[in-house]
Symmetry: C2
Subunit: 186 residues, 2 copies
Amino acid sequence: MARQSLQAVGDATFARCERVSTELLALTYGSFVRQLMQDYEEVEDVNRQLDSTGYNIGVRLVEDLLAKSRVGPCANLKETAETIAKVGVKMYLGAGASVGNWSADEKSFGVIFEENPLAEFVELPEEWGGLWYSNVMCGVIRGGLEMVNMKVECRFVKDRLKGDDVNEIRVSLHEILMEQPPKGED
Amino acid sequence: MARQSLQAVGDATFARCERVSTELLALTYGSFVRQLMQDYEEVEDVNRQLDSTGYNIGVRLVEDLLAKSRVGPCANLKETAETIAKVGVKMYLGAGASVGNWSADEKSFGVIFEENPLAEFVELPEEWGGLWYSNVMCGVIRGGLEMVNMKVECRFVKDRLKGDDVNEIRVSLHEILMEQPPKGED
């Protein structure tokens, strides 16, 4: 699908979905992050836990995304990238995102966005400077793509909470997984 | 304000608010509850932690509610009850709720609702039968009301996750707090 039309799909699907207030999501997510900050001493462990939580969410969300947006299979990584930015981020966060900063080998790209509803009320305390507050999003992308047979690495490289001008998640394709044959009845 | 008009306020404010997908909130909240279930051995402690998290959210949300919905001060507990059900629940969860089951002394009532976006994908494992999964909502109401000088007790008495026909949160007024004079500069 062309870029323009994926944008339209994202907008239309977002308009059709059941929705709740952004504030409630932001405060609920904030409570979750705060709980992890109490549970783990190392900021790296919090980042990892957020990513792993996101993975489990992504595995669930991808079916929802495919069913509601009715986007077909992506022909190549460029189309996948645009679908994440224009359909996924829009559908779930109501925010606009774009794709850029492709690597020379065309196997990695950035999902770039300015508004981040998850971080709406947040200021990072200085001692948590190593926290990628919205790291759950990396896990969501990773989990979602794994369900469509793409093994990727995802990580934040820019975060406005850290003073960057935009937010950027880098997505790097590692492997196209073989389709698993359906499992037998028992 | 009359009942009908509070309903209209809730609907209009919900339509005006920035929103995100219900699925994302449900899965994020689910991750939070699961984390608490790992952290605490006793289900009562999880219920308490959810309530206390909700309290902190409610303290933040009430300002947002008053600013966005522009409802004025409530004249009595009946109006407060209707505002919670028709404006609060609608604005943040996009769900309809009603008020009922008033006690004889008119100091306690039920907020009754069928749809609960927080619990959308949830089945309670049997060993967690004592969990009030959406207990965060009790805390939100308690925290929000405390900011407008009402000390209440809130608890779930019915939950569709437990097989009840509806969800019901009982709210009991304990005390009208005296307005605190504004604190001095230091």
